[in-house]
Symmetry: C4
Subunit: 252 residues, 4 copies
Amino acid sequence: MESIINVLIEEPELQSPILIEGLPGVGNVGKLAADHLLEQLGGVKFAEIFSRHFPPQVVLDEDGVVSLVNNELYYVRNVGRGVDVIFLIGDHQGLTPEGQFDLARNIVDMAKDMGVSRIYTLGGYGIGKMVEEVRVLGAVTHLSMKEDLQSHGVLFSPGEPGAGIVGASGLIVGLAQNAGIEAACLMGETSGYFVDPKGAEALCRVLASILGVEIDFSDLEAKAQQIDVIASKIKEMEGSQSGGREDLGYIG
Amino acid sequence: MESIINVLIEEPELQSPILIEGLPGVGNVGKLAADHLLEQLGGVKFAEIFSRHFPPQVVLDEDGVVSLVNNELYYVRNVGRGVDVIFLIGDHQGLTPEGQFDLARNIVDMAKDMGVSRIYTLGGYGIGKMVEEVRVLGAVTHLSMKEDLQSHGVLFSPGEPGAGIVGASGLIVGLAQNAGIEAACLMGETSGYFVDPKGAEALCRVLASILGVEIDFSDLEAKAQQIDVIASKIKEMEGSQSGGREDLGYIG
Amino acid sequence: MESIINVLIEEPELQSPILIEGLPGVGNVGKLAADHLLEQLGGVKFAEIFSRHFPPQVVLDEDGVVSLVNNELYYVRNVGRGVDVIFLIGDHQGLTPEGQFDLARNIVDMAKDMGVSRIYTLGGYGIGKMVEEVRVLGAVTHLSMKEDLQSHGVLFSPGEPGAGIVGASGLIVGLAQNAGIEAACLMGETSGYFVDPKGAEALCRVLASILGVEIDFSDLEAKAQQIDVIASKIKEMEGSQSGGREDLGYIG
Amino acid sequence: MESIINVLIEEPELQSPILIEGLPGVGNVGKLAADHLLEQLGGVKFAEIFSRHFPPQVVLDEDGVVSLVNNELYYVRNVGRGVDVIFLIGDHQGLTPEGQFDLARNIVDMAKDMGVSRIYTLGGYGIGKMVEEVRVLGAVTHLSMKEDLQSHGVLFSPGEPGAGIVGASGLIVGLAQNAGIEAACLMGETSGYFVDPKGAEALCRVLASILGVEIDFSDLEAKAQQIDVIASKIKEMEGSQSGGREDLGYIG
């Protein structure tokens, strides 16, 4: 029995498409960003990926109809300046390191088969404290990609993230490099304490610039403001606990 | 070496059979129900499933004769309104998520080969408190199945179970959906604290209605009454500990 | 890459040989017994079994020469009443349930290929208290084997061991049953607290009777007496701690 | 999908090369030694090994360019007395026992294909206390190798290391023995508390003698002196804490 089952709903003809991956991770930043962008652009689901490496589980919709835990592929044609885009989204990564590796290989194999010209994997960069001004950090498979990404607001900061990139976002970029596909991991800064729409918004702005599309951020901004409110309240509580000290640097 | 070994004792010719799965799980509700129904209907064992994914163990009968841990398939012909029924029973699920997935795929592959027309997987829905009136909740692969199940007393409650369905009962339904087989998971409500014959009885009543058979519930009812006695005693103890307070809602 | 590597040093022609398994387990009773019997009978190593399922390790002899962790097969021709015997010994079982299953299947496959007529797996039956009179309990693949084993001193006690038989000794017997090979698991009673030569001696006496051979037990008896001394000292200590109480039943 | 991917950059023709392995382990002694020797001799990378058994991760260089976690093979021609040398280096061993076994088999298979005449695996021998005079202990696949190694300063000490050799250094030697390749594990003594350049230097001196090359140790010596300083400070602290006691044997 194979460990991964790709169910193709449709085999779309796409022109050197871009693949954007957004699966759960630190602050769920990558997943939020990919889901938001896909919703804004409107995509067509063309494949489902099932695997023994996902949690052994079905989820239920409001009607009580089941879906086996999976990852899904969508396509959108002719985005912004005319590029075709594929989205890889889902509620789970592989449960084990071995499973994550196999799932990433499966995606890169599919990308190669579909003539994908570039991959963007999305993730969060957890810094363990509240973030005022969200940076979007980058990592690339080829040095030649940096200048273009910098022009869209991506920061390359030597030594960040120091621990490398773990999980699907890292593996897909690494395996794409081996397969000769240009790929970049874009990481929205986040405290890592909350599901973080602010980090996701920053990621989406970079992607909108890359793709040349207008994106409505009102949804993410509303959620981001809620996070700001929560953060302020935490600051107040910390402030009153420490007798009104000025120095709140460690959470700001 | 294959990871699952299907040993066929017999290859019965069955007419679009229904498959009923009842393996251990929350409150053992699904297993108790399937075992009781099979005992009442009288079945013939036709296959044993062995696997590296089960506990590495033999069990002994009273004579000291061993049996390797397994799952078993039984058939019963011409049940109630004339349907052939297959039972999947056993004392264990797979030990790992990967093993559970492979075992569920193996069953759905067998079901497809045998022309199974519908699958019912049985489970418990643990609510973490004593249950007075046991509901039987449902989840389906196809929306079109709901009305019929509701007519037999199955409840579809949006958002329940919120965490989806984990393990064999979920996976078999999910993989059946992918394979184009109609399937439903029926879940008997249970506290989840005990092995729960009350939840099993409720499940059996729904299945008896679906199959159009008369079932003797005296066994399960006797066991269920014992549980009621235990529950009453717990209430009393809780009552005396809290100085006779009226509010026992959290266990009732 | 296959997960198990059988390295054959020799392919001996054997007449319907008996296979005796003795790997580490409860009180190391089975391993001690098989090692002692093999040493007494004098065997020839004819195969080594290596696997990714064993600890990832080499051991060193006194000269600093390494051996990769393995299981080994020895043969002895024309034992006692004229039977050929194969021994499966080693310092490790598989690290995981899946590994144990695969290793047991590999042995049963080899046994089938070599025309093995009967398998005895040896183990300890841990009862959690000191044992005065060591019983040897049995479990069999075929009811017809019991009478003969009882005549050699094997006890069949309904409900013992209640938890079944876990690991290599259980799996080999269970898989032999599926493969149509007669097999019995013989379990020497042991506290389970110590490596237990007393349980091993009891096992060896049964096997000597089955094979019709004279065995020198002085080695095992010397070790067993040491255990008796240790047990007596523990009794004394317990006695003085509890103010000289008579009731020492829980360790005797 | 295969579990290990060997990416060949080049297929060098080498004359009965020696393979030297230095992966992370106790005190990182083996890795430090192999890295230092490779740096001194100057090698050419000719293969990368990727696997689902490594951590699921990419690392970043100072430019933000990713590399998938891997092991790497380098070659150096005509070293010292004229031997070709292959180095196996990397930042990770396999995550699981099964993965370690498969990775070691893959290396020994490659070694066999390339006509490797001898393998040296490098490791640390952790003794749990500070080491004054670092010994280099050896373990071999063939007794005939000992005399030569002793002439280069390798010590064979019966019963050391008592627990055998775990991980890549052990498995590669053990599997080489099975494949008929002469192999030795060289272990530099280390406290095991720190990354230990002193143990690495001792290993390098032995290897320099074996290969007949001059090695500059200034780097390792500088690092080793830092460790000595740290060790002295710990001694002082321990001394003052214990009221200036003379007996510091347990850390010296």
